[in-house]
């Protein structure tokens, strides 16, 4: 605790200095997700010194860790006790941190069954733009005391404050798990996935790319075995399946690989979030579909305007994830009434706009 207290004091005084000198700060953990969002600006504010698992009670299903704790360290501690973060946060490298995981708010293949990152955030201590340490939420499952500020940090891209400590809900690793492969066209795959989910089959992940549909089942051994017979398909060997889902999660699959040449041709990686019942979206280029249709990746040179219009028509939104030029804005803007709330919320937590300016939206 002494080390962390000292680190926290240093961060707090650095924030106060930055506020007085109107210096922008780029909050930095492991730097594995600096490609995500609009380009980082400002002097780096390193938070990795604020590291360590503060408390972990497997029987309470709660772990509390400092923001700079390596994600890999946290996951290893959970695995030792047969528990996990079931939304499977992407790593994109070895040095990612728990705070970065929350700030980016990205979930992996397990998201549809498990829920988003924010559903696992039980509480957090943050440093706001005045350098004040504030704790919201708590370390228990059910808590409605005051506004749930800690959950808003999930996906906030660091613009609301420095995530110093976070309490997360954890879950037991499912007893059984199997991956099946099928051949389906895009529209047939989407419809089939909707049907399977409606039937209550224990689907914990899905991917579709070039007519190959992969579906992961998880749960009680008997249920998984039973569902596997019902669904047919071809079973993937367990080690191959594990590799497949971690490659999808961390964008190591070749679909996600970009070289300078492709960027030069104007090809970008887009993420479209849509209702899982949305029909195929007519963008040019290759696609990779996850979350039973709710998360769709595109490698395309189509215009940002067209992509955002189609995403919106499908009931979702589009994010420019990898590109040589992000001047079109990484994130889709919300409606103006909501944007006004965004501006005032930012103002209330970070009035001098020192944290990650522009990382989410240009004027935040």
């Amino acid at each position: 605790m002494d080390t962390q207290n000292a680190a926290l004091r240093r961060l707090s005084s650095r924030i106060v200095e930055a506020r007085n000198s109107k210096t922008a700060l780029e909050i930095r953990g492991g730097g594995t997700k600096s490609f995500y969002g609009n380009p980082p600006r400002g002097e780096p504010l390193h938070v990795t010194s604020l590291s360590g698992i503060g408390s972990y009670e497997p029987t309470e299903l709660v772990v509390t860790a400092f923001g700079g704790t390596p994600l890999a360290e946290l996951e290893a501690a959970l695995a030792e006790r047969g528990q996990c973060l079931p939304f499977e946060p992407p790593h994109f490298g070895t040095s990612g941190t728990v705070g970065g995981m929350v700030a980016a708010g990205l979930a992996g293949p397990g998201r549809p069954g498990a829920g988003p990152v924010r559903d696992y955030v039980l509480g957090a201590t943050l440093l706001n733009g005045m350098g004040e340490a504030l704790t919201f939420g708590g370390q228990v499952m059910k808590n409605v005391a005051g506004y749930d500020v800690s959950r808003v940090l999930a996906g906030s891209m660091g613009i609301l404050g420095v995530i110093c400590e976070v309490s997360l809900k954890v879950m037991p690793v499912l007893p059984a798990c199997r991956t099946l492969q099928f051949e389906f066209t895009e529209d047939a795959a989407l419809l089939q996935l909707n049907r399977w989910v409606c039937e209550g089959l224990p689907i914990t992940a899905s991917s579709w790319h070039r007519d190959l549909l992969c579906v992961r089942l998880g749960g009680a051994a008997a249920t998984v075995a039973h569902s596997r017979i019902r669904m047919g398909g071809q079973e993937v060997e367990p080690p191959d399946a594990v590799r497949w889902w971690s490659d999808v999660r961390d964008h190591r699959h070749e679909f996600f690989a970009f070289t300078g040449m492709e960027f030069a041709r104007g090809e970008c990686l887009w993420r479209l979030a849509a209702p899982d019942t949305a029909p195929p979206i007519a963008l040019s280029g290759e696609r990779f579909i996850e979350w039973a249709g709710a998360q769709r990746w595109y490698r395309t040179a189509d215009s940002a305007v067209r992509i955002r219009a189609l995403a919106s028509a499908a009931g979702g939104h589009a994010t420019l994830v990898r590109a040589a030029d992000k001047s079109a804005g990484a994130f889709t803007l919300p409606a103006e009434a909501s944007m006004q709330i965004h501006r005032r919320l930012k103002q209330s937590l970070d009035p001098s706009r020192i944290f990650n300016p522009g990382r989410l939206y240009p004027d935040l």
Partner: protein
């Protein structure tokens, strides 16, 4: 009547507000005479009562927008109200404000079986959603005990729970999108039917905001396939400690039951004499442990759970034979509150959450408080998620008993904070737990919450005076409290 407002001024203000409302609503949708507004003077926390300036009962969204706009122009507070089943006074009227009854917005707009969603107006009852989804084999999971009466709008405002939260989550985890109005009547939407919405995720602020950030008109909820089977284990324990340890062992064993409830001996006795559920009256505590899912899954989980419970020292274990017996097991738990009502003229239901492992210690502390405050208390516990509901028995006609009951309640909440818990798990802060907020949160944290309210509602007109206590109130309440038991980062300056 509001104490600080002279009667003449109050009457003039009422006339002004009622005439503004009359331009928007038909006469029969505006109540302002005391005999008419009396029905709205409290919610299910009847110990706090207040007549509003007026009650507006709109039936179209454009009317709601206009009412908000008009009240904003006149600087009149708005208290949105659903079925009025809240347990913390969240819908307590404002003496200088309009109570906005949203009861007429009770239509189910769409049930989409393929997307597994339902879109409903805010005044739709919780149970009505599951009824509408049932033909598709789907249901809405959160099940607060008031579910036959409470509305989804109120559930969103309170982030309501229920007995199945551990496995299926709270309201927040089951709501995809809400649409409504800001304090000045502008349309606004939070969340999305896509897995996320553009920008900051404001849904977790709005869900559980107790009507202070926006007025919710429409909600899209997630539906789940109804589990094919549910079976319930009833296990008896000779001590509360061993029952508490059994709960931890079940979780450590990797089992997430659909429901995991604990009742102490007095509660069991009260429930048994009320509904004859077949409870073991010799046990110091009984656990109800329910597993649901596919038949194979339930068999597997029940077998594992029984093994764990027996290894943890259960003195008697019974498994529900059929649906009828399962419901019978639950009937006592679901009737815990009315059963307590038979033991005493009044009871006050507390709602703190604590780390499960501190349960036995907490129950001993409550027992000691019974002696100190001279009142009895019975306990039911959502053991799976650590949410404790001590019911303090008292007689509201005896002012001294009421005062002691309030002190007893506050002492339970402070003890909950001290063991690392929170003052409310699912009932909300409302007006009831304002003082306890001073203990759980620092002045800077409360100021930050107030700033967040202002970000949504700059004029401060939505349900003012609830949830976040003023500095002055905390100062008045403020005997020196140790902040959160053991303070996080004690060396850091707090501003």
């Amino acid at each position: 009547m509001h104490q600080s407002t002279p009667p003449d001024e109050w009457a003039a203000r009422q006339t002004q507000v009622v005439s503004a409302l009359a331009e928007i609503l038909p006469k029969n949708c505006i109540l302002y005479r005391a005999e008419d507004t009396r029905a709205y003077e409290c919610d299910a926390l009847t110990a706090y009562r207040q007549l509003p300036l007026a009650v507006a009962i709109p039936q179209a969204e454009w009317q709601v927008a206009k009412i908000l706009e008009a009240c904003h122009g006149l600087n009149v507070p708005i208290v949105a109200r659903g079925a009025g089943t809240g347990l913390s006074g969240g819908a307590l009227p404002n003496a200088l404000g309009v109570t906005l009854s949203l009861a007429k917005f009770n239509r189910i707009l769409a049930v989409d079986p393929r997307a597994r969603t339902a879109t409903v107006q805010c005044g739709v009852r919780n149970a009505a959603i599951s009824e509408a989804a049932a033909p598709h084999g789907l249901y809405y999971a959160p099940d607060p005990s008031s579910q036959i009466a409470c509305t989804i709008g109120g559930n969103v405002a309170e982030n309501s729970g229920g007995v199945h939260c551990l496995k299926y989550g709270l309201t927040l985890h089951n709501v995809l999108r809400v649409r409504g109005f800001t304090a000045d009547g502008e349309a606004v939407e939070f969340g999305s039917e896509a897995p996320d919405a553009a920008g900051l995720d404001l849904l977790p602020l709005v869900v559980g905001s107790e009507g202070m950030l926006a007025v919710i008109m429409e909600v899209t909820v997630k539906l789940r396939p109804r589990p094919a089977v549910a079976r319930c284990i009833m296990a008896s324990f000779a001590t509360v400690e061993s029952a508490g340890a059994a709960v931890a062992a079940v979780i450590a064993g990797g089992i997430i039951p659909a429901g995991l409830e604990l009742m102490d001996k007095r509660m069991t006795a009260a429930a048994e004499s009320y509904v004859h559920a077949g409870y073991d009256l010799e046990a110091a505590a009984i656990l109800l442990c329910e597993c649901d899912g596919s038949p194979e899954e339930v068999d597997e989980d029940i077998a594992r759970a029984i093994g764990v419970l027996e290894a943890s020292g259960a003195t008697r274990v019974e498994i529900s034979r059929d649906e009828q017996q399962r419901l019978k097991f639950w009937s006592g738990r679901k009737n815990a509150f009315p059963a307590s009502g038979r033991m005493s003229p009044d009871y006050m239901c507390m709602d703190s959450t604590i780390p499960r492992k501190r349960l036995a210690e907490m129950l001993r502390a409550i027992e000691a408080m019974e002696g100190k405050y001279g009142l009895r208390c019975v306990n039911v516990f959502h053991a799976g998620d650590g949410n404790l509901h001590p019911l303090i028995l008292f007689d509201a006609n005896d002012p001294d008993e009421f005062r002691r009951c309030e002190q007893f309640g506050a002492a339970i909440l402070e003890a909950s904070i001290a063991v690392g818990g929170t003052i409310t798990g699912e009932h909300g802060v409302g007006v009831e737990k304002l003082n306890s907020m001073c203990v759980q949160f620092s002045a800077a944290e409360r100021a930050q919450m107030m700033a967040i309210k202002s970000a949504f509602d700059p004029a401060g007109l939505l349900n003012p005076g609830k949830v976040i206590p003023t500095l002055q109130r905390c100062a008045e309440y403020g005997r020196m409290h140790v902040h959160r038991g053991a303070m996080r980062f004690p060396e850091l300056p707090r501003f």
